[in-house]
Every structure is written in C-alpha cells, then in structure tokens.
C-alpha cells in the first residue's frame, strides 16, 4: 500500500479518484431525485466528442471535453424546458451523435478508436500534473454550489411548482444542475471513464438511500461511499492491472448489493407502528359484526403476529384477516 503512495502517477490517480468519488454521487443525488438517472451516461457520450475534437486539434483533452460537454448539457436542458425535446428521441440523437463524432474525429486524427479507450474506462497512468490542477479547480467549482445550494436544489428537484411560488429561479437552477453534472462527468473520464461514470453518479446514491433516511443524510452517505469505492477501485486496479473504471463500478455495485439486506433490516427496525385511518363513512354505516369463528390461538403482544392500531384497539394481522378481541372471541375487522 505504501508502495502505491510513493509512485507519483498513482498519487495523482488516487487524488483524481478521491475528487471523482466526492463529486459524482453529490450531483447524482439531485439527478436521481429528478428521475434522470441516465443523464450522466448521455453526457458521457457528448464528452467523447470533446475528446475527439482535442485529438484532432492537438489540444489538452480535459478542458475541451468540459467545454463541449457543458454546452451539450445546456442545449439538452433548454430543449427540455421549451418542450422541444420530443420525448427521448432528441436526447438520443444528441448523445449518440456525440459518440459518433468523437470516434470519427479520433479516427481522422490518426489515433483510432483505441486512443479513446483510456477515456472510456479510465486510465491510471494518464492523469497529468496540469490535469490535476484543472480537476482541483473544477471540483471546488462544482462542490461549493452542490453542497452550499442544497436547500434550493433540493426544492427544485422535488417540487418545481412549489419552488417557483417561493420565488426561486427554477430554470436557472435546472441549468446549473445539468452543467454541474456535465463538469463532473468530464472530470471523471480519467478515473471511472466516460462510459461508466453514470454508475458512480447513481449506484452510491441508491446504496445510501438503502442505509439512511432523509435527503441530506443520503447526500453525505453517498459521497462517503463514492470516495470509498473510487479510491479503493483505483488502488485495486493497480494490482489487477485493469482499467480503474471497471473495478470502481464493480465495487460500487458490490456495496449496493450489501446494502439491500442491510437496508431491509434497518427499515424493519424503524418501521413506524401502522395505523388504520377511520374510513369516511364509518359514522353513518354500522360495521356488521363478524366473528372469527373457532380460534384456538390467543393473540397478545408477544404472539408474533403483527398488529395495527384500529381506532381504540389493536387488530392482529393473521393470514390476511384482521382479528380484534371481543369478549371471549375474535372479530373480523
């Protein structure tokens, strides 16, 4: 492990992984709340066009990819706001157009599609010193609004109309969210890669929602899980000699799988006591008295049957029936 930290290229790669692990789940929390889980994937495709453009012009890929991806994200969001993106078709054309343009330009540049692979699945050895400075600056530029404006972004993502009536600039915040997502996707291209980054935006968020309750706790938990899987995946891929993106995503999905049974357990323990609401017409129509017939079992607090509060008494739930104690027998409620 210490060997890893003495290698300059691994230091840079691990730092980039740490930043990606923080950013992707943070912005991903809003994307998931808005039910746009696959937006990151589409934006990754657009960023490929930026990489292709960089290869053909001989520029630094990261900066150009950020610019192209943010521009693509804003176009998509403006089209959506104006109701012009007819369903998914407009988005699909933009996204696959980006992928095709990237591969085409890479080919013309003489680099071939193989040159893109380091951007698609991440590559530990290619994080340069200048990359790292840009990553650091853009990470601050993304994380400050993502965390600092979380009350506004939460309101906009959960109920646009209500946010508008509070005088919030909903369109601006929506543009901000996709622009931040675009920057995040592009910065992740050296670590998880453009094709897999969406997993890091969605899977830690889903895992966090299994573990903790509430939006802000889930945001913090998702960021912690994101850092753990992306730093772990980047370190592990050094030994496995594989692209880091693959291992990061495998780790993320493993964590998600672990949270499924854990989450079910936590939910059961936190389960609020169920309560049956009075029905609207209860007062006007008398409920007929139906006995449960011969019932040898004695219900009680420790009998193992779940119960719900029904008005002033508990109903024990029993093979699809609700049994309420009545004198020496049980009633069907």
């Amino acid at each position: 492990m210490t060997e890893l930290l003495t290698l300059p290229f691994m230091q840079r790669a691990l730092f980039a992984a740490l930043i990606t692990g923080l950013m992707a789940p943070a912005i991903g929390t809003y994307i998931v709340q808005r039910r746009l889980s696959l937006l990151g994937d589409g934006l990754g495709h657009v960023a490929i066009a930026g990489v292709g453009l960089a290869l053909i012009t001989g520029q630094a890929p990261l900066l150009l990819a950020v610019i192209v991806c943010v521009a693509g994200a804003l176009i998509v969001e403006i089209l959506r706001q104006q109701g012009k993106a007819s369903g998914d078709v407009g988005l699909a054309i933009l996204f696959y157009g980006g992928l095709a343009a990237g591969v085409l330009m890479s080919g013309i540049a003489g680099a071939g599609a193989a040159a893109l692979s380091g951007y698609l699945f991440g590559s530990l050895t290619t994080v340069s010193r200048t990359d790292l400075i840009l990553v650091g600056i853009l990470a601050v530029a993304v994380l400050v609004p993502t965390v600092g404006l979380s009350p506004q972004l939460f309101a906009v993502c959960s109920d646009e109309d209500f946010a508008r009536v509070q005088g919030q600039k909903v369109r601006l915040y929506n543009l901000l969210i996709v622009a931040l997502a675009a920057v995040t996707v592009t910065l992740a291209m050296r670590t998880v890669g453009l094709l897999l980054v969406s997993a890091l935006m969605v899977v830690p968020v889903a895992a966090a929602q299994n573990l903790v309750r509430g939006f802000y706790s889930a945001l913090g938990c998702a960021m912690a899980l994101g850092v753990a899987v992306s730093v772990g995946g980047a370190a592990g891929s050094y030994y496995a000699d594989s692209p880091p993106g693959a291992l990061i995503v495998v780790f993320a999905i493993a964590v998600f799988a672990l949270t499924l049974p854990l989450g079910a357990l936590l939910r059961r323990r936190r389960q609020p006591r169920l309560e049956l609401p009075e029905s609207i017409d209860e007062e006007t129509v008398a409920v007929p008295h139906v006995g449960a017939g011969a019932h040898p079992h004695q219900h009680g607090p420790g009998c193992g049957h779940p119960y719900v509060q029904h008005g002033d008494h508990p109903d024990f739930i029993h093979e699809g029936h609700r049994h309420a104690e009545h004198a020496d027998h049980y009633d069907e409620h």
């Binding site: 600092g148 009350p151 309101a155 959960s158 209500f162 509070q166 889930a218 609020p272």
Partner: protein, 260 residues
C-alpha cells in the same frame, strides 16, 4: 386602463378579465375575482372547469393571455414578495422520493432564506411551529413517501405555513384525505383565518369546510357562474359539486356562519 381600484389596501388578490389559454384553447375566460384581507374563499366546480388552471395562473405558474392580476396590490409580473404567499399544490403533483418530513417542511422556508446560509434559529422555530400546527411533530423524521394521504397533505400544508404567508392557496387539499385528517385540516384553516390570514382553497365540495368559507366562487367551463356567500341548502352548491364522489357531510351546513 385603471381596471383595478388601487385604493383598496385590504385587497390580497385581484384578477380582472383574466383569460388563460392552454394549447390554444381558452380554459379561463374573462374572470374577475377579488380576495380581501382575512377572507376565506372556496373555488369550486367540476372536473375540467378550470379551477387548477385559474389558481396556477394567479400564482404565475402559467402565463395568461389577457387581463390583469395583482397580488397584494402589485401586478403579477413585477411581484417579488413571495414569502407572503403559501402554496399547497395537489398532492399528486409532488415527486418527492426520499425526504424526511422535517426536510420537506424546511424547504418551505426558502423564500425567507439567503443563498449559502444554513438554517438559522428563527427558521428552526418556524419549522417546529408549522409541524406542531399540523400535528406531525412526532413524525418529523419519517419518510414522506411512507405516510398516509392525509398525513402527506398535512406535511404539504406545514411546508406552506412555515414561510409565514399572509395568503394561503390550497389546491384540492381534501382529495384522498381520511376523515379525521379532513377535520384536523378544517380546524387548522379556521385557526389561520381567525389569525387574519387570507385563504383561497380549490374544492370539489365544501364538505367539512362549510363552516369556514366566507364565499364560494363556482366555475363552469372557465367562467364564474356564481360568486357569493354560502347559503343554507342553496341550489348553487349542489350545482357546484355535481361531480364529486365523496359523501356530502351536511353537519354544520345550516349553522354555516363564520364567527370572527
């Protein structure tokens, strides 16, 4: 043209000749509506009569094609004083996935908060007060999505109250709400009106709110067909709720006076 008398400082909301088109079809056609300070007005009508469209255009959520709207005396296009307005949208319109009750209520405080500033003491007090007003204090850390319809509705009302608005606009607050919650909501709204707030509430039928509303405005096909106080056993109310499917709760109907 000075169509709305500005001298009326007690006027909370005013619409004159309001016309709203959706997809080229006029849905609201030349409506005149006025709500004074401390008034509780029910907006009624069948499905498709334009109730929600009217409310949404009054709150600048959808544009209008003709006419004039003023909120607290300011033309709608220039209105900025949003903390004074509390909006409770139809429950089905909210898409909250994972959020605690307290977080949802806190999001109603935004109009009174500055960017990048965490919740202050006054915000926390307002949140606690709003939660207790709707009797949800003991459930403040529950997931909104796991609550019953009536409880969710109470949370959405708390979210509107937490900004301490002067005008409360509720869109079908009683839809899908169990009877105890309906009664609790009616009591809450009565307390708010008694405290001097103005209320505009979209309803299918007045139901448990009959003792509360001062005036019922009945819409049909985008026009106001009646606007006046509730009358005991009035024909108009029957006409107004002809499509609703809940049992009519006539208790308190005849004694439907507002004592304030």
């Amino acid at each position: 043209m000075p169509v709305i008398d500005e001298s009326k400082s007690t006027e909370v909301l005013a619409a004159h000749d309001l016309t709203v088109e959706l997809g080229g079809l006029p849905v609201i056609r030349g409506i005149n509506l006025r709500i004074r300070h401390g008034e509780a007005v029910a907006l009624m009508g069948g499905n498709g009569s334009g109730k929600s469209t009217l409310v949404r255009s009054l709150l600048r959520l959808i544009p209008f094609q003709r006419g004039e709207v003023r909120l607290f005396g300011t033309p709608l296009a220039r209105f900025e004083d949003w903390p004074r307005v509390g909006y409770v949208p139809q429950r089905s319109a909210t898409v909250l996935r994972t959020a605690k009750v307290r977080e949802v209520v806190a999001s109603g405080r935004l109009a009174r908060r500055k960017l990048f500033v965490p919740l202050r003491g006054t915000d926390r007090i307002a949140i606690t007060t709003a939660l207790s007003a709707v009797e949800m204090t003991d459930r403040d850390s529950h997931d909104l999505a796991r609550l019953s319809g009536g409880q969710q509705q109470r949370v959405l009302i708390a979210r509107a109250l937490v900004g301490e608005p002067d005008l409360l606009v509720l869109d079908e607050p009683m839809a899908g709400v169990d009877l105890p919650s309906q009664r609790a909501l009616a009591q809450l709204l009565a307390d708010l009106v008694a405290a001097g707030k103005s209320v505009l509430v979209v309803l299918h039928g007045v139901g448990v709110l009959s003792g509360l509303v001062d005036r019922a405005v009945v819409l049909r096909e985008g026009r106001i067909v009646s606007d006046g106080p509730l009358e005991p056993s009035g024909e108009r109310h029957v006409a107004g709720r002809h499509e609703h499917d809940e049992p009519v709760l006539d208790r308190g109907w005849l004694g439907g006076t507002v004592d304030r």
